[in-house]
C-alpha cells in the first residue's frame, strides 16, 4: 500500500470508527433547512441583529421579509442587508403587516418581555435572544407565556444547537469523562463594549449594556450563554455564586466592571470558575469540564478531549485527529466524521464551517417547519438566566448570592 493510500485509509478508518460511537447523538444535530418556506421578521437590528440577518440569509427556505427597530439609522442600515424586506418602527407594526411567519427578537435584554409577549400572542414562531430577560420576574413571565404559545418558541442559547457541542456532550455523558471534578469557563475580548451614538440623546439607549439599571454586566450578558452549556452537560444547576469585579482598563466613568471572576457552586459541591474581561483577549471564549477520565474543552467552533493516562482506551482514539496544546495533546472532536471521511474532507471538518448562531437559528426554523421542539426552550433559558442574574448580583455586591428559580 502506498504511503498516501495508507494515510487515506487511516483517515477513513478514524472517521468510521469514531462515528460508530458518535452517530446516535449526531442525529440531534439538526442541519438548518426548513421543509417549508418561512418568512422571517427580525426585531432589533443593532450589531447582533445584523448578525442574525446575515445568518438567516444563508439558510435555504428562509427569507427575511420584515425588520423593525426604533432607531431610524439602524433600520435603514438593516434594510440594506436584506433583499427587499419592509421596515417598521416596532414589533406591533411588524406583526400587523402580516408579512412574517416567524420572528427573531434581538432587542436589548431588558426589553425582551414586552416584545416577546406580543410576538407569542401573534401565534408566530419566535426566537428570543438570551439572556432571556433582565429580572427573574420577567424570565418567569416569558417562560410561562412561551409554554402557552401556539408557535414554536426557541431561546438563543446557542450551545444546545451547536453540532460540536452536541457531539462532545455524548462523550461527557458516556464513560469517556467519568466523574465530574470541576468546571471552568471564560470569555476574554478586548473591546470598550460601547456603541458610538451620532445623536447624544440616543447615547444611553444604545449603550444599555453599560447602564447598571438595566444591564446584567459581563456575568449576565455573556456568562448566561456559557452557564447554560454547563447546565446542559451536567444536568444540574448552581445553587450559589460568589464573585468580584473591577475596572481594569476602561476607566471612562462606567460603573459596570470590565473584568470579573465568579465561583459557582453546584448542589454536590462541584465548582465552576468563570472569568470575563473587556481588557484582554487571550484565549477568547471557551468552557472546560474536568472529569476523572478526561477533560473536554469547548471553543464554540471546535471541541477537544484530553484523556488521562489511566483512562481506558476505546479504540477509535488511536487514529483520531490530534492537536498539541503546550504539553497536552487534545483529540479533536469532529461532527459528521463519517460523512467527511467518505468525502475525503475530514481535515476540513475539524472546525464548524458556520457560526453557532447559524445552527441555533437553523434549528429553530427547522423545528418551526416540522412543528417539533427547538433545541433550547424558554424554561431552560430562564434557568440559565437566573444563574447569570445571580452571578451579576454577586459581582456587584461582593456577597455570596443564592440562585433562585
Amino acid at each position: 500500500m502506498l504511503e498516501h493510500d495508507r494515510r487515506e485509509f487511516l483517515v477513513r478508518s478514524a472517521g468510521g470508527l469514531a462515528a460508530m460511537a458518535l452517530l446516535p447523538e449526531l442525529g440531534l444535530a439538526r442541519m438548518p433547512s426548513p421543509r417549508a418556506d418561512l418568512r422571517v421578521g427580525v426585531v432589533g437590528v443593532g450589531r447582533h441583529g445584523r448578525d442574525v440577518l446575515a445568518e438567516i440569509a444563508k439558510i435555504e427556505g428562509a427569507t427575511i421579509t420584515a425588520i423593525a427597530d426604533t432607531d431610524e439609522r439602524r433600520l435603514a442600515s438593516g434594510l440594506r442587508r436584506t433583499s427587499g424586506a419592509e421596515g417598521f418602527a416596532d414589533v406591533g407594526s411588524l406583526i400587523s403587516a402580516g408579512l412574517t411567519d416567524a420572528i427573531v427578537i434581538a432587542t436589548p435584554t431588558h426589553t425582551h418581555r414586552e416584545v416577546a409577549e406580543e410576538a407569542f400572542a401573534s401565534g408566530q414562531h419566535v426566537y428570543v435572544e438570551a439572556p432571556l430577560a433582565a429580572t427573574l420576574t420577567d424570565c418567569k413571565a416569558i417562560a410561562a407565556s412561551a409554554r402557552s404559545a401556539t408557535g414554536v418558541i426557541a431561546a438563543g442559547l446557542q450551545g444546545r444547537a451547536n453540532p460540536v457541542y452536541q457531539l462532545a456532550r455524548t462523550f461527557f455523558r458516556s464513560d469517556s469523562v467519568r466523574d465530574l471534578v470541576a468546571m471552568r469557563g471564560q470569555r476574554h475580548q478586548k473591546t470598550s463594549w460601547r456603541t458610538p451614538a451620532s445623536d447624544p440623546a440616543r447615547e444611553r439607549a444604545l449603550n444599555w449594556v453599560l447602564d447598571p439599571e438595566v444591564s446584567l454586566g459581563l456575568a449576565g450578558e455573556w456568562g448566561t450563554h456559557q452557564f447554560d452549556v454547563f447546565n446542559w452537560y451536567v444536568g444540574r444547576y448552581p445553587v450559589k455564586v460568589r464573585g468580584n469585579g473591577s475596572i481594569r482598563l476602561h476607566k471612562d466613568g462606567r460603573e459596570i466592571a470590565d473584568t470579573i471572576a465568579c465561583t459557582l457552586t453546584l448542589d454536590d459541591g462541584a465548582e465552576l470558575q468563570y472569568s470575563a474581561t473587556l481588557a484582554n483577549s487571550y484565549e477568547g471564549m471557551y468552557e472546560v469540564l474536568y472529569g476523572t477520565n478526561a477533560a473536554i474543552k469547548l471553543g464554540w467552533s471546535h471541541g477537544w478531549m484530553f484523556k488521562e493516562a489511566d483512562a481506558p482506551t476505546q479504540g477509535w482514539e488511536v487514529y483520531a485527529n490530534r492537536q498539541q496544546f503546550h504539553k497536552d495533546e487534545g483529540i479533536t472532536l469532529i461532527a459528521g466524521a463519517t460523512k467527511l471521511a467518505e468525502q475525503g474532507k475530514l481535515k476540513q471538518g475539524i472546525g464548524l464551517p458556520f457560526s453557532s448562531l447559524y445552527y441555533a437559528l437553523g434549528d429553530w426554523l427547522a423545528a418551526a417547519s416540522e412543528g417539533s421542539e427547538a433545541a433550547c426552550s424558554c424554561d431552560e433559558a430562564a434557568r440559565a438566566t437566573a444563574v447569570g442574574i445571580a452571578a451579576n448580583r454577586a459581582v456587584v455586591t461582593g456577597e455570596e448570592i443564592s440562585v433562585e428559580m
Partner: protein
C-alpha cells in the same frame, strides 16, 4: 481579506467616544471579511460559488450593488478587472437580477472579490467615521489601499509614499489611494482576459473619491500596462466619470486627488 487593517483617528476629542467609533469602524471591516471572502464556507461569496451552474442565489441589496458595480468596472476596464474566476465563455457567466436581488453563475465560474473587497470595506469603515463626525483620520488595508479623511492636525493633506511610482509622496485629503504591483516575477499576476501572466515590475496607483474604485482600477491598470495611458479611450472616460486619477511610472505624478 487576509491582511491587516489599521486606523488612526487624529481628532482632538473625547478619546472614549473616539475609541468606540474606531471599534465600530473596524467591526464593519471584520463583518465584510466574513461576507466577502471566498475562502470561508460561511461567506456569502462562498454560498454564491456553491450555486455555480445550479441555481441563482438571493443576496442582500448591499452585496448586489457591489457585484453590479464590479461588473460595470469589468466592462469599463476592457475585462482587465474581473471578479469572475474561470472562463467567461458565455455572456451569462455572471447574471445579476436586480428585481429579485439574485446572482447566478454559469458552471465553472467562481467569484473572487480579492481585488475590490479591501477598498470596499475601507469605504464602509470611513463612512462610519464620517457619520460620527470624525474629521481627521487615516485608514488602510494591507498598505495597498488607504483612505484619508480630512488632513492631519496642522497639515493640509496626508502624505503617502508610493515606492516605485516616482519620487515624493501623494498628498491625500478626503480621498482614497490604491496601488497594485505585478511583482518581481513573471506570473504573479495574470491577465483575466487571456489567463496569460503579465510582465513583471509594472506598478500602478489610482486616487479617487472611493477606495472601492481605486482598489479595482489599480489592479486593472497593472494588467493594462502602458496602454492605460492612451488618451480618449474607454478607460479615460471611466476615470473622468468616476473622478479617478492614475499614477503610472511613466506619467507625471498626480498630486491632487
Amino acid at each position: 481579506m487576509g491582511t491587516r487593517f489599521e486606523l488612526l483617528i487624529a481628532d482632538q476629542e473625547d478619546p472614549v467616544r473616539l475609541r468606540a467609533i474606531g471599534e465600530e469602524a473596524l467591526g464593519v471591516i471584520h463583518d465584510e471579511h466574513g461576507r466577502l471572502t471566498r475562502f470561508e464556507a460561511s461567506s456569502m461569496i462562498a454560498q454564491i460559488n456553491r450555486g455555480a451552474g445550479l441555481h441563482a442565489v438571493r443576496v442582500d441589496r448591499e452585496l448586489f450593488d457591489l457585484l453590479e458595480e464590479s461588473e460595470a468596472i469589468h466592462r469599463e476596464s476592457l475585462g482587465t478587472f474581473d471578479i469572475a474566476v474561470g472562463t467567461r465563455a458565455t455572456a451569462d457567466a455572471v447574471s445579476l437580477d436586480r428585481t429579485h436581488c439574485t446572482v447566478r453563475l454559469a458552471s465553472g465560474v467562481q467569484l473572487d472579490l480579492g481585488a475590490i473587497a479591501k477598498g470596499y470595506a475601507l469605504d464602509l469603515a470611513a463612512s462610519v467615521l464620517r457619520e460620527h463626525g470624525v474629521r481627521s483620520a487615516l485608514l488602510h488595508g494591507g498598505t495597498s489601499s488607504v483612505i484619508a479623511i480630512g488632513a492631519p492636525p496642522g497639515g493640509l493633506a496626508w502624505g503617502i509614499e508610493t515606492p516605485g511610482l516616482g519620487p515624493g509622496s501623494v498628498a491625500l485629503r478626503d480621498a482614497a489611494l490604491s496601488v497594485s504591483d505585478a511583482g518581481s516575477e513573471v506570473g504573479r499576476v495574470s491577465d483575466p482576459r487571456t489567463s496569460e501572466p503579465i510582465a513583471s515590475g509594472w506598478r500602478a496607483g489610482v486616487t479617487g473619491p472611493s477606495a472601492r474604485d481605486t482598489d479595482a482600477w489599480a489592479t486593472a491598470l497593472v494588467v493594462l500596462g502602458a496602454s492605460a495611458a492612451a488618451p480618449g479611450g474607454e478607460v479615460e472616460r471611466a476615470f473622468t466619470r468616476r473622478g479617478l486619477a492614475a499614477i503610472l511610472p511613466e506619467l507625471e505624478r498626480t498630486s491632487d486627488a
